[in-house]
C-alpha cells in the first residue's frame, strides 16, 4: 500500500510540506521485487533535525549499497501533521516510497538523546505497531535501536527487540544478512532474535531478566537463553579509511538545521573528560587520513552543490594533521566558492590564524568551553584547560576584534561548591576587564555565560554520582544570576532543571521505566527535547502512575558494588578503569591525554590505539 494520493491532500494543509515529500538528490529508489530486507531508518525527531545528523547519511549509504536491502527514512511528523494523519487515519510512512512503516522488515531507531524516547514510542503508535516486543507478532517489523543511548538500553528494554552497539558500519550489514536467511527459512520471530544474539554487538533484552533487591536495586541479571552472551561487546571499525563514507549525500530541498557537506575526521577522543559519555563509548580514536578527507570533500562538493563544508569530530584540533588538513580544505573550498566552518577548535594561535582567514566568522561569535569555574574542579572533571589558557585565548580574541564571546559551563558537577561558581563569575569579570584593558572601552562587548546542568551518564567515571536536587540547582542558578548581574556586558543563560532531571532518570534507568515511557506517551508526551513541548507535569504523572520514584535513578549515590542496569553492555572501557578515574576525580588528580601515554582504559585489549603516546 502506497500512500501518495492520501498524503497529497494533507500536504496542502501543513506547515513545511517539504518535510514529507522525499525525492531529494541522492535519495535512494529501488525496485522492490529484488529486495529481501526493507529497513526503515527512523529518526525520532523532525526531518530538519534528522537530516542534519551525519549518522543518518552514513547508515543510509551503507545499507543501500547492498542490493538486497532497501533503507528508507522515517521521521517524526510535526504536531500539525500528526494531528491530520491521526484524523485521516494515515499511518506513519517512509519518505522514499510512502509505504506504511508496518511494511518494513526492520524498523531501526537512532537514539541520540534520552528525551527522544517518547517520540520513538509515539512513532510506533502512529505506525500501528504495538509498543511492547511481547505484543508484536510476525505481522510487525522488528524494532531495533542504536546510537549513544543504546549504551544504556534498559529503559527501552520491553519496547525494542534488539539493540546494536557501536559502529553501525560493522553491524548493520550483518543484521541484514541474518535477516535475509531467517526470512528464507520461514521460521519463528524468536529464531531470528536467537541468531542475532550470537552476532557480536547485539543485545536482545528479552533473553535477560533482572532480579531486584528489596531496596529496588538490581541483585543480578539472569539469562534465560543459554546462548545469549554474558557481555555484549560494542562493535568497532578499526580503520576509518577502509570503511565507506557517504560522498553522494542526500541534499534536502528545504532548510534544515545543518544543511552542509560534512566529513567525520576522526571518531573517539583521547582527552578523557570524566563527565563525557561520548569520550568513553567511542574509544579509541580512529582518524581518517588527510588525503581521504580531502578526497571525500571534493566528491561531496561535486555531488551535492553545497555551499558550506564542515568537519566533524569530538575535538577538531586534535587531528594529528590538523594544520595541513585545514590549509588544504581552505584551498578546496576557495576554489569551489564554498565556505568552510570549523567547529570545536581549540583556541590556539593556529586556530586564530585560520578563523581570521575564514570570512564571516566574526559575526557568529566565539565559543569556548572551560566547563568549570576553578582549576580544582577542572582537575576533578579532567578538563585540561588552565586559567592561563582561558585568558590567553581571550586576550588574543579581543585583540583580533571579537566582541561576542560565549563560554560554556556545567553546574552540579561532582564535588562542586559555591566557590566554583564564584570562579565562573570571576572568569566572566576578568574577561570583561581584559577587554577594557585592551580596547579601552566597555561598550559593545558581550560575554555570554551559558550553563548546563550536569547529568551523570552510564559508562563514565561519574556514573555512580547523584545529580543535584532541583532545589540545589535552583539555588546555584540564582546564585550565579546574582553574581553575574553586577558585571556589565555579561549575559547569563541556563537550562531548565526539569528537563535535565528527566534526562538523568532515563540516562541511568532500568527496564522498569519502559512502562513509564509508554504511560507518558499515552498521556501526551512527545518532542520532549523541544522546550515548548516538554511537559513536566505529564512526566511526573506518568512516573507516579507507574509507581516510579525518579530520585531513585537521578539523585541517589550508587555504591561501587551495585549491579548497574547497563553492566551487560561492554563499551570496551573497563569498569575498573571507570572506578579508578572516579577515585582520581575525588582526589582531584588529573589523568593524561592518551596521546601522552596510555592510562589503561582497556580498549586496547580489543583494538590498537594508534594515537597512544603520539604527543
Amino acid at each position: 500500500m502506497v500512500l501518495t494520493n492520501q498524503l497529497d491532500k494533507l500536504l496542502m494543509k501543513v506547515e513545511k510540506p517539504g518535510r514529507y515529500t522525499g525525492g531529494e538528490w541522492n535519495s535512494a529508489s529501488k525496485d522492490l521485487s529484488g529486495i529481501k530486507t526493507r529497513f526503515g531508518f527512523a529518526f525520532p525527531d523532525t526531518y530538519e533535525i534528522g537530516m542534519s545528523y551525519l549518522g543518518l547519511q552514513i547508515i543510509y549509504h551503507i545499507l543501500n549499497k547492498k542490493d538486497s536491502v532497501f533503507c528508507e527514512r522515517i521521521f517524526a511528523p510535526a504536531i500539525d501533521m500528526e494531528e491530520l494523519m491521526r484524523k485521516e487515519g494515515i499511518p506513519l510512512f517512509t519518505l522514499e516510497t510512502k509505504s506504511p512503516v508496518k511494511d518494513m522488515d526492520i524498523l531501526g531507531f537512532t537514539l541520540q538523546y534520552e528525551l527522544s524516547f517518547s517520540n520513538l514510542i509515539n512513532m510506533l503508535d502512529l505506525s500501528g505497531i504495538p509498543f511492547k516486543s511481547a505484543e508484536r507478532t510476525k505481522e510487525h517489523p522488528f524494532v531495533a535501536a542504536g546510537g549513544p543511548c543504546a549504551f544504556n538500553p534498559e529503559p527501552l528494554a520491553d519496547i525494542v527487540d534488539f539493540f546494536m552497539l557501536g559502529d553501525g558500519e560493522e553491524i548493520l550489514p550483518e543484521v541484514c544478512e541474518a535477516h535475509e536467511s531467517w526470512k528464507m527459512s520461514g521460521r519463528e520471530k524468536e529464531e531470528f532474535l536467537k541468531t542475532l544474539a550470537q552476532i557480536p554487538g547485539i543485545y536482545v533484552p528479552k533473553f535477560y531478566t533482572p532480579v531486584y533487591e528489596e531496596n529496588g536495586t538490581i541483585r543480578s541479571i539472569e539469562r534465560n537463553y543459554e546462548k545469549a552472551p554474558l557481555q555484549i561487546e560494542k562493535r568497532i571499525v578499526e580503520d576509518l579509511n577502509t570503511v565507506d563514507f557517504p560522498e553522494h549525500c542526500i541534499v534536502p530541498f528545504i532548510d534544515t538545521v545543518h544543511d552542509r557537506a560534512v566529513i567525520e575526521i576522526f571518531r573517539g577522543c583521547t582527552r578523557g573528560c570524566r563527565f563525557c559519555q561520548a569520550g568513553m563509548i567511542y574509544r579509541p580514536v580512529r582518524e581518517r587520513s588527510k588525503d581521504k578527507i580531502k578526497e571525500i570533500a571534493m566528491s561531496q562538493i561535486e555531488s551535492t552543490g553545497h555551499e558550506e563544508l564542515t568537519i566533524l569530530s569530538l575535538s577538531t584540533s586534535d587531528h594529528s594533521e590538523i594544520e595541513p588538513l585545514v590549509q588544504e580544505l581552505m584551498g578546496v573550498c576557495r576554489e569551489n566558492n564554498v565556505s568552510l566552518s570549523l567547529p570545536s577548535l581549540r583556541l590556539d594561535s593556529f586556530s586564530f590564524k585560520v578563523l581570521e582567514e575564514i570570512q564571516g566568522y566574526k559575526k557568529s561569535g566565539l565559543t569556548f568551553a572551560p566547563e568549570a569555574g576553578t582549576q580544582r574542579l577542572r582537575d576533578v572533571i579532567n578538563k585540561s584547560i588552565t586559567d592561563q589558557d582561558i585568558y590567553h585565548a581571550m586576550e588574543k580574541a579581543i585583540e583580533l576584534g571579537w566582541s561576542n564571546i560565549k563560554l560554556y559551563f556545567m553546574v552540579g558537577l561532582p564535588t562542586e561548591t559555591f566557590e566554583d561558581l564564584d570562579g565562573i563569575a570571576e572568569i566572566a569579570r576578568n574577561i570583561t576587564d581584559l577587554n577594557y584593558r585592551i580596547t579601552g572601552k566597555r561598550g559593545r562587548f558581550n560575554v555570554t555565560i551559558s550553563v548546563s546542568n550536569f547529568v551523570p551518564k552510564a559508562h563514565t567515571p561519574f556514573q555512580w554520582f547523584p545529580q543535584d536536587s532541583a532545589e540545589l540547582f535552583h539555588k546555584k542558578h540564582q546564585y550565579l544570576k546574582d553574581k553575574l548581574k553586577s558585571i556589565k556586558g555579561v549575559t547569563f543563560q541556563y537550562h531548565g532543571t526539569e528537563v535535565s532531571y528527566m534526562e538523568a532518570v532515563f540516562a541511568r534507568g532500568d527496564r522498569r521505566l519502559s512502562d513509564t515511557l509508554i504511560k507518558a506517551v499515552e498521556l501526551g508526551c512527545k518532542f520532549d527535547g523541544w522546550r515548548e513541548h516538554f511537559n513536566y507535569g505529564l512526566w511526573i504523572k506518568a512516573l507516579d502512575e507507574t509507581g516510579i520514584d525518579p530520585d531513585f535513578y537521578a539523585c541517589r549515590v550508587r555504591s561501587f558494588e551495585e549491579v548497574l542496569p547497563w553492566d551487560l553492555i561492554d563499551s570496551g572501557v573497563t569498569k575498573a578503569f571507570l572506578l579508578e578515574e572516579n577515585q582520581n576525580a575525588v582526589k582531584g588528580s588529573q589523568s593524561v591525554d592518551c596521546r601522552r601515554g596510555c592510562i589503561g582504559c582497556g580498549i586496547n585489549q580489543r583494538v590498537n590505539c594508534t594515537m597512544e603516546g603520539t604527543l
Binding site: K9, L10, L11, M12, K13, P17, G18, Y20, T21, G22, G23, E24, W25, V251, F253, I254, D255, E302, S303, T304, G305, H306, E307, N336, N337, G360
Partner: protein, 222 residues
C-alpha cells in the same frame, strides 16, 4: 558576464518546495554542473539570480522563469541540457535563452499570468458552467475583500480589470477554470481570490485541498 533566462516546469513533490528553497536548488544545480554564476559584491555575496514571479506553495507550473548571470558565456542549449540532467524529478528546463546584458529584470516586466484551476465537480450537481461563467463576468464589478498588509485592514477591491480572460468547462468530473490575471508589480491578482469569488458567486462548494492550481504561462511587457 552573460545573462540568461530559463523557462521551466515544476510539478509533483516539487510543488511543496518554497520560493527560497527553489533558489537554493538552482544555485546548487548550477554549481554541480559547473556553470559559474556571477556573484554580487559586498560582505555577503549572493549569486545574481531571480524569478519572474514567486509561485505559491502547492501550485504546479509549466511556465516559470528564472534569470541569472554567469561569469562567462555558455551556449544556451548547453545550459538547458546540463540542468535537465541534474534537476530532480518534477522539474525540468523547457528553454533557455540569452538576454541582453543590460535591461529591466523579468520581475519588472511581468504583466500577466495564465492559471488553470481544477475543482472536483460537486456530487449530484448538474453544472452549466458556461452560464455560471457568463453570469460571473457580467457583474458590473467583481469585488472581494483584500487584506492590506500595510494598514492591516480589509479593503474592498474590484478584481474585474485584473481579470483579462476567464473561461470554464467541465472535463472528466472536474470544473476547469482557465484565466489570465494581472501579475507583477503594478497590479497582481492571486488565483485564490478568483477561485473563492467565482465559487461563492456560483454557489459551488469545494474543499481547497482538492483543488489544483497550475500556472501555465507568464507574460511580459515587450
Amino acid at each position: 558576464m552573460s545573462r540568461y533566462v530559463i523557462k521551466f516546469y515544476k510539478e509533483g513533490v516539487l510543488r511543496y518546495i518554497s520560493h527560497l528553497d527553489l533558489l537554493r536548488l538552482f544555485k546548487r544545480s548550477f554549481k554541480r554542473e559547473g556553470i559559474r554564476l556571477q556573484y554580487s559584491q559586498g560582505f555577503n555575496p549572493h549569486p545574481k539570480m531571480s524569478f519572474a514571479q514567486p509561485l505559491s506553495l502547492g501550485y504546479s507550473s509549466t511556465g516559470e522563469y528564472i534569470e541569472f548571470e554567469t561569469t562567462q558565456p555558455y551556449p544556451p542549449e548547453e545550459i538547458k541540457e546540463k540542468m535537465n540532467r541534474i534537476l530532480p524529478e518534477g522539474m525540468g528546463i523547457l528553454s533557455c535563452e540569452e538576454l541582453p546584458a543590460a535591461g529591466k529584470t523579468l520581475a519588472a516586466m511581468t504583466n500577466a499570468a495564465d492559471y488553470e484551476i481544477s475543482i472536483p465537480c460537486p456530487e449530484g450537481g448538474n453544472i452549466d458552467i458556461i452560464q455560471l461563467v457568463s453570469a460571473y463576468l457580467s457583474q458590473k464589478a467583481i469585488t472581494v475583500l483584500k487584506h492590506q498588509r500595510k494598514s492591516g485592514k480589509d479593503v474592498e477591491i474590484d478584481m474585474k480589470p485584473m481579470i483579462h480572460d476567464f473561461a470554464g468547462f467541465v472535463d472528466n468530473n472536474y470544473i476547469m477554470l482557465h484565466c489570465r490575471l494581472s501579475a507583477g508589480s503594478t497590479a497582481n491578482l492571486s488565483p485564490e481570490l478568483v477561485l473563492s469569488s467565482f465559487c461563492s458567486h456560483s454557489r459551488i462548494s469545494y474543499d481547497r485541498t482538492e483543488v489544483n492550481i497550475k500556472r501555465k504561462e507568464i507574460y511580459f511587457d515587450s
